[in-house]
């Protein structure tokens, strides 16, 4: 069938790294090592992810789905979206 390609990608380790870095840079996520360990089930990351998804008008799931990762990988301004 013909259809537009929609961005799909499985969440992989580097995606986890992408999410962590993005939320630290632009959404005030505190970046200490323990945080990384807990991020699979951690609240701060989920909350920050929801903030980011709401900001970009994405489905607010708190999960790093393909659409969210797609936005995170787009070139952008370095100023944070959420005030420090």
């Amino acid at each position: 069938s013909h259809s537009f390609p929609t961005a799909t990608s499985e969440t992989q380790e580097q995606d986890v790294e992408t999410v962590q870095k993005y939320l630290e840079n632009y959404y005030n996520l505190k970046s200490d090592a323990k945080q990384v360990e807990r991020q699979r089930n951690s609240d701060p990351v989920v909350e920050k992810l929801k903030q980011m998804q709401k900001f970009f008008g994405l489905k607010v799931t708190g999960k790093p789905d393909a659409e969210t990762l797609n936005v995170m990988k787009q070139p952008r301004c370095g100023v944070p979206d959420m005030a420090q």
Binding site: S1, H2, S3, F4, T6, N25, Y26, F55, F56, G57, K59, E67, V71, Q74, P75, R76, C77, G78, V79, D81, A83
Partner: protein, 409 residues
């Protein structure tokens, strides 16, 4: 728009700027020009003025740096973080840094310096990131060919510094709101099983995988199409969509604009020179007939014979009685149905049904699916709808009816 936390702003509205160093990607003159244009965007809609100085400390210092450049915000190499700027204030306040690991251009190629500078200067003047995708202060890099402040940007900067000195207040484009009941459309077409709505620089689309409508720039898919399209239709068996603006049209296959376009509508379709533009177009997959709506007339073009059918143009009312004398957009979905959308700015509520796109539950599917003998075509105009019987080529008795009565919810 969002103001930077704490509302920092420049006390003096007559500011200076200095370009400390230059990227080797562009000539000095091109860098000067891009930065000057970026400042002009903001000065044209506010009381702010900007004067370029070539030495000493200026209010806004501009530089190209890479990696860690000792301001606690290291750049990250190619891509990702392109530039940043500091809020109004002394010393580093207001300064703009561009990542020298990017390639800076003055055209479509990544990354357009003028476009990024316009955004960063918003920060230098006290704006934070906006969630409005049509605003320059939206955080992600989007270059749709032209750089213009949206109404969101203008409202933001005027909230800080007040209106511009111009006797007539300049305004910027608004980003369409998907659920705005006053929304009118430039064009609508099916595209490989989806339906895309076009308005100004944007497209909107829904499809079963994303419950919310998606709104983004037309240039995301077709960077070389103009903004402000006027009509569009799909020739499904050629896997081709044609977009119209003025007396020109473009043919695309997927995301590729076909070679040799734009072409003019006179030689390709046989329109007379008196036709300056197309309001709406739709092609019937079954018959290969394409209907063009121009003001109060409609033309029928045979895609197989590649010529206009005799007897056209006709008044719209002849082929589609009751539809009125102007159509904004029209598209075909699910076989023998045409949906015609007509809107006048300020008419509230008439489009209520259109953005459900899933058919309203009360349409009797068997009618729509049962094939030729039961052909019914539903036309929605403002808050009423008509049902047109294809076999008898006439409007059915008892119409128009009120949409809300029959399509409740």
């Amino acid at each position: 728009f969002v103001l930077t936390q704490g509302n920092p702003q420049w006390e003096d509205t007559h500011l200076t700027y200095r370009i400390e160093n230059y990227t080797p990607d562009l000539s000095r003159a091109a860098v000067d020009h891009a930065i000057e244009k970026a400042f002009q965007l903001w000065s044209s809609i506010s009381p702010l003025t900007f004067t370029k100085v070539s030495e000493g400390q200026a209010d806004i210092m501009i530089s190209f740096v890479r990696g860690d450049h000792h301001d606690n915000s290291p750049f990250d190499g190619p891509g990702g973080n392109l530039a940043h700027a500091f809020q109004p204030g002394p010393r580093i306040g207001g300064d703009v840094h561009f990542d020298e690991d990017e390639r800076w251009t003055n055209n479509f190629r990544d990354y357009n310096l003028y476009r990024v500078a316009a955004h960063e200067l918003g920060h230098s003047l006290g704006l934070a990131h906006s969630t409005d995708i049509g605003a320059l202060m939206y955080p992600n890099y989007i270059f749709s060919g032209d750089v213009q402040l949206s109404q969101d940007d203008i409202s933001g900067i005027q909230a800080i510094y007040g209106p511009s000195q111009n006797p007539t207040q300049p305004t910027g484009p608004q980003t369409p709101q998907v659920c705005d009941s006053k929304l009118t459309f430039d064009a609508i077409t099916t595209v490989r099983g989806e339906v895309m709505f076009f308005k100004d620089r944007f497209y909107m689309r829904t499809n079963p995988f994303y419950p919310e409508a998606e709104l983004n720039f037309i240039s995301l898919f077709w960077p070389h199409l103009p903004n402000g399209l006027q009509a569009a239709y799909e020739v499904a068996d050629r896997d081709e969509v044609r977009f119209f603006k003025g007396n020109k049209y473009w043919a695309v296959k997927g995301q590729n604009v076909l070679y040799g376009y734009p072409k003019d509508i006179y030689r390709s379709f046989g329109f007379p020179r008196t036709v300056k533009n197309i309001d709406a177009a739709v092609s019937d997959e079954d018959t290969g007939k394409t209907y063009f709506f121009v003001a109060n007339k409609c033309w029928r073009y045979d895609e197989y014979k590649q010529s206009m059918d005799a007897g056209y143009p006709k008044m719209i009312a002849e082929d589609f009685p009751g539809i009125g004398n102007k159509v904004d957009a029209v598209f075909q979905k699910d076989g023998n149905k045409f949906w015609a959308v007509r809107g006048i700015e300020g008419q509230a509520g008439y489009l209520r049904g259109i953005h459900t796109l899933g058919f309203p539950p009360t349409i009797r599917e068997t009618e729509a699916v049962s094939g030729k003998e039961k052909k019914k075509t539903y036309f929605f105009v403002e808050d009423k709808y008509w049902r047109f019987d294809e076999n008898s080529q006439s409007m059915e008795q008892g119409f128009p009816r009120i949409i809300a009565d029959d399509f409740s919810g």
